[in-house]
Amino acid sequence: MPRNDTIELGELTDSTFYILLALTEPRHGYLIMQFVEELTAGRMQIGPASMYTIIKKLVAAGLIHPLDGDGKKKSYLITDAGRDLLRDDVKRRQAIVEDARFILEGEGHV
């Protein structure tokens, strides 16, 4: 139905990217929100409904896994598969930035 399953395309959305980054250390929902907000200096604020949706999706895809703990503040940690996907996406994003630099910073005209 929704044609937005970017995880299956091997591409992460910005929110998913930052959530995976936050989960390189065990964190629960609200700590992930805070981590992302601080890391990006407030540029990226993830809402609770988006957070819950993405966490469920990442667990289902085997990219993160829940740690033992009480049900209210469940912590998660990235899996090996999640880490691989994150690294691939960093490369993809890096390539985009390099393309842009090549054009905007004039290397193309030297």
Binding site: R3, S15, Y30, M33, P48, A49, Y52, T53, K72, K74
Partner: protein, 175 residues
């Protein structure tokens, strides 16, 4: 306690409009208490500046409500363990922060309503064919009554289905 009823035009069509209206009512001291048949029940209190947000989620766990609470969204009421309304300060972050997850919010509702409407449509057509046979007048009346009920059910699932479908299409076009 003083209460007031506010009618709803159907969440598939008027969700945003009705959340803004609830905010206006809260400014006048009428606060959302719970869902009521085809609308909302409001209760009188102090005027307050708040925002309301609605989410669809089937049988969510404690963690769900905890994520809302810790980011400044107080759970107000739910219906059918499926539709939930939250109240936040005017500055609280939006509950959906990206388009991808917001699309899934409506896509799930669209699928549920679509399935229900399709089932009812098949029954509606089947019954209509049966009604073309020769029946005693008592039986014909009974069939007509059942058909009428199914028609109502079809309207209450078919219209929301079309509403959610249009909403998702609009979002996908805008992205």
């Amino acid at each position: 306690m003083k209460r007031k009823y506010m009618s709803s035009w159907g969440l598939a069509f008027a969700e945003e409009r009705e959340m803004r209206k609830l905010e206006k009512m809260a400014k006048q001291g009428w606060h959302l208490e719970k869902f009521a048949p085809l609308g909302y029940s409001l209760v009188k209190g102090e005027p307050a500046d708040v925002q309301y947000s609605l989410d669809y989620r089937t049988r969510p766990d404690e963690e769900y409500f905890e994520m809302f609470a810790s980011s400044g969204w107080e759970h107000v009421t739910s219906t059918g363990d499926e539709i939930h309304i939250f109240k936040g300060h005017p500055g609280a972050r939006p509950i959906y922060s990206d388009r991808e997850t917001m699309v899934t919010k409506y896509a799930t509702e669209e699928r549920t309503m679509g399935r229900a409407a399709l089932t009812l449509l098949i029954v509606w057509l089947g019954l209509w064919i049966i009604m073309q046979l020769d029946w005693s007048s008592v039986m014909a009346t009974a069939l007509l009554m059942v058909h009428l009920l199914i028609t109502i059910g079809l309207i209450f699932t078919g219209l929301p289905y079309l509403g959610f479908l249009a909403k998702r299409k609009r979002m996908e076009r805008d992205s």
